[in-house]
Amino acid sequence: METAIATITTFLAASVRMAAPLTIAGIGEACSERTGVINIGLEAIMLLGAFCGFMVTFWTASSGLGMLAGAGGGMLVALLHGVLSVKCRANQNIVGLALNFLVLGLTSFLFLKAFGQSTVLPTCATVPTRAIPLLSRLPILGKAIFNQNIFVYIMLILVVGVSALFYKTEWGVNMTAVGEHPRAADTAGLNVFRVRYMACALNGLLGGLAGTYVTLAQLGFFMEDVTAGKGYMALVAVILGRRDPLRIMLASLLIGFAEAMQFQLQTMGIPVPSQVFSTIPYVAAVFALLFSIGKSRDPAALGVPYERARR
C-alpha cells in the first residue's frame, strides 16, 4: 500500500512537472489566438527562450535573470511574427513556419559561436524544488503540486490570473471583440492593432518563459533543437483546451501523464513501443477537433489580417 501511494505520488509529480511548460506556453498562445493571431511558430518562441535563458544563467549564474532573458527572447520572436502578420498582413502560418527555421538555425549558430565544437556540454545549475509550507504536507497532492519548482507555481498563478483576465476584465472582452469582429471593435473605438500586438507580446513572454523550463529546470544544458517539438505539443494543449486556461492545464496534464507513463513503462522493461504513448496526444487532438464541431468555434477572425481602409 505504502509503495503504491509512493508510486502514484511520483507519477503525479512527474505529470505536473511536464505539464508546466505546455500550460504556460499554451496560455500565451490562447491569448494570441483569442485576438485572431495564430502562431504556429510557438516552437521558435520556446527555442529562443530556452537558448537566451540558458546563456544568461550560464553567464550570471542567476536563474531569475535567465528566466527574464528567456521571456525577452520569446517576446522578440512573437513580436516579429506580430509585425509580419498584423502590419505586413502575411500568411500567419507561413510566417510561423519560417520563424521555426530561422530560430532553429540561429540558436545552433550562436551556441556554436559561443562555445565552439566541444565534447563537454556547458551546464548550469537547475532551479531548485521549493516546498510550500503546510500545503506540501498534504497527502499525495502535497508532494505532487506543492513541492515543485517555480515553473509549476507560475503555471498555477497563470491559470487563475489569465482566467480572470479573459472572463472578468474589460481587456478580456476587448481581446475577444478583436478576434471575433475586428471591424466592429475598431468602430467601437478599440485599437485593433494595439490589442493584437499586446497579445502577441504576451504570447512571446509566456512562450519564452516556458522555453526556459527546458534548459533551466529539466536539463541544465542547451543543445541543438532542445525543445524538440514541445511548441507543437503546446498547440495541441490549446486545441484540446479550447483556449481556456484551466482546460489547457488539464489537457497539458493529460499529455504530461502520457509522457510519464511512457517513461515508467520503459524503466519497467515492458516492450511497448514508446511511440504508442507519445502519439496519443496528437490523435486525441484530431478527435478533439472533430468532436468540437458546433461546440467551440474558432475566433471568427483567426488568421485573418485586418485592414482598416478596406470595405
Partner: protein
C-alpha cells in the same frame, strides 16, 4: 518603370540582403569570406558527385513541393507533407516486404501506386474534414505529421522490423529492385526523373484541364464557386489527395532510390522545406523545380562550407528563414517602390 521591373528590383534587393546576412554570419564566426564562399560553391559544383548530390536532395523537394503547391492553389494549407512523405515510404516498404519475389517493374509500379495512395489518404483526412465540417486543416496536418512519425516508429519495432537486426530498421530492399542509378559513383537515382515528369503532369493538370481550373477557382474564391455550381468540397478533396500523393511518391523515392530500407529520420524536414519551396516557386510547377533545386544546392553547399571553412551549416536554415520572412514582408518593405503611379 514597368510593374514587373519594380517587382524584379524588390526581389533583387531581397537577394542582396540575404547575401549580406550570409557574409555577416560568416564574419561573425571569424572565417575568411572568400574561403567560405569557395567552399560553398566548390561543394556544389566541384565534382560530379556533389552536383549529383544536389539533385538527390532536389527530387523529394520537387515532389513534396509540387504537392504543397497544388494544395495551396485550392486554398488548402498543407503543412503535412512531412507525414505524407513518411506514409508513402511506409507503403512502399510494406509492398516489398509483403510481396517478395515480384519483378522490378511490377514492384515499382505497385509500390509507387501504394505510396501515392498512402500519402494521399494521409492528406485526404484533413482535406475531407475541412470540406465536410469546415475544420481548419493547419493544426490537423501538423498533428498527422507527428502521428505518421509515431506509426513509423511503431511499425519499425513490430510488423516491419528486420528480426535479424537489433536496431529498429526494416528488411533491406533486394539489390537491383529499387530505382536505377543514373550516374556511376554518385547517389543519383531515377527519382529525379520521376519528379520532373510529375512536374509536367501537374502543370498540365492545373493549367490545361477543367478539373485544374475548378481547383484554382476554389482557391481564389470559394463563394463564387458555390454560386457558379463548382463544388468546393470536390475541389478540396481532389487537391488534398493529389497533394498528399505527390509527397507520398517523394517518400517512395527516398526508400527505393536512396536508403533501400525504412529507418527513422529518412526525411531531414523535406516536408517542411517543401512549403518554403512552394512559396518561393510561386506555386507554379516550373518555379517549384527551380526553388527545390536552389534549396537543395543551399543545403549541400552549406554542409560543404562547414567542412571547408568551419562555418556552421545552421547558416542555411537562418538564410532560408530570413528569405521567406523578407518575401512575406516585401510589399510593406518596398511600399514606395511598388506603388502604382496612377
Amino acid at each position: 518603370m514597368s510593374k514587373q521591373f519594380r517587382a524584379a528590383i524588390s526581389y533583387a534587393a531581397i537577394a542582396v540582403c540575404s547575401l549580406l546576412l550570409a557574409i555577416l554570419l560568416i564574419l561573425l564566426v571569424g572565417c575568411d569570406v572568400g574561403k567560405a564562399f569557395y567552399g560553398f560553391f566548390n561543394g556544389i559544383l566541384g565534382s560530379s558527385y556533389s552536383v549529383a548530390e544536389v539533385f538527390v536532395k532536389a527530387a523529394p523537394l520537387i515532389l513534396a513541393g509540387l504537392g504543397v503547391a497544388v494544395a495551396f492553389k485550392s486554398g488548402f494549407t498543407n503543412i503535412g507533407a512531412e507525414g505524407q512523405l513518411y506514409m508513402g515510404a511506409v507503403a512502399f516498404t510494406a509492398t516489398y516486404v509483403l510481396c517478395p519475389g515480384l519483378p522490378k517493374a511490377a514492384l515499382l509500379a505497385l509500390g509507387i501506386l501504394a505510396g501515392f495512395l498512402a500519402g494521399g489518404v494521409w492528406a485526404l483526412i484533413p482535406g475531407a474534414l475541412k470540406a465536410r465540417f469546415g475544420i481548419s486543416e493547419v493544426i490537423n496536418t501538423i498533428m498527422l505529421n507527428y502521428i505518421a512519425l509515431g506509426i513509423v516508429g511503431i511499425l519499425l519495432q513490430t510488423a516491419l522490423k528486420d528480426r535479424a537486426q537489433y536496431f529498429p530498421v526494416s528488411p533491406t530492399l533486394d539489390d537491383g529492385l529499387g530505382f536505377s542509378r543514373l550516374l556511376k559513383g554518385t547517389r543519383l537515382h531515377s527519382g529525379i526523373l520521376i519528379a520532373l515528369v510529375c512536374a509536367v503532369i501537374v502543370y498540365f493538370f492545373i493549367f490545361k484541364t477543367s478539373m485544374g481550373f475548378r481547383l484554382r477557382a476554389v482557391g481564389m474564391n470559394p463563394r463564387a464557386c458555390k454560386c457558379m455550381g463548382i463544388s468546393v468540397s470536390a475541389g478540396l478533396i481532389v487537391s488534398s489527395l493529389l497533394s498528399g500523393g505527390l509527397a507520398g511518391i517523394a517518400g517512395v523515392g527516398e526508400i527505393a532510390g536512396l536508403h533501400h530500407r525504412l529507418i527513422g529520420g529518412i526525411s531531414p524536414s523535406y516536408g517542411y522545406l517543401a512549403i518554403i519551396v512552394a512559396l518561393l516557386g510561386g506555386n507554379h510547377p516550373l518555379g517549384v523545380v527551380i526553388a527545390a533545386t536552389g534549396i537543395a544546392a543551399l543545403q549541400v553547399g552549406a554542409l560543404a562550407m562547414q567542412r571547408a571553412a568551419n562555418v556552421p551549416s545552421a547558416i542555411a536554415s537562418i538564410i532560408m528563414g530570413a528569405v521567406v520572412l523578407l518575401i512575406l514582408a516585401r510589399k510593406t518593405l518596398f511600399k514606395r517602390l511598388l506603388r502604382e503611379e496612377d
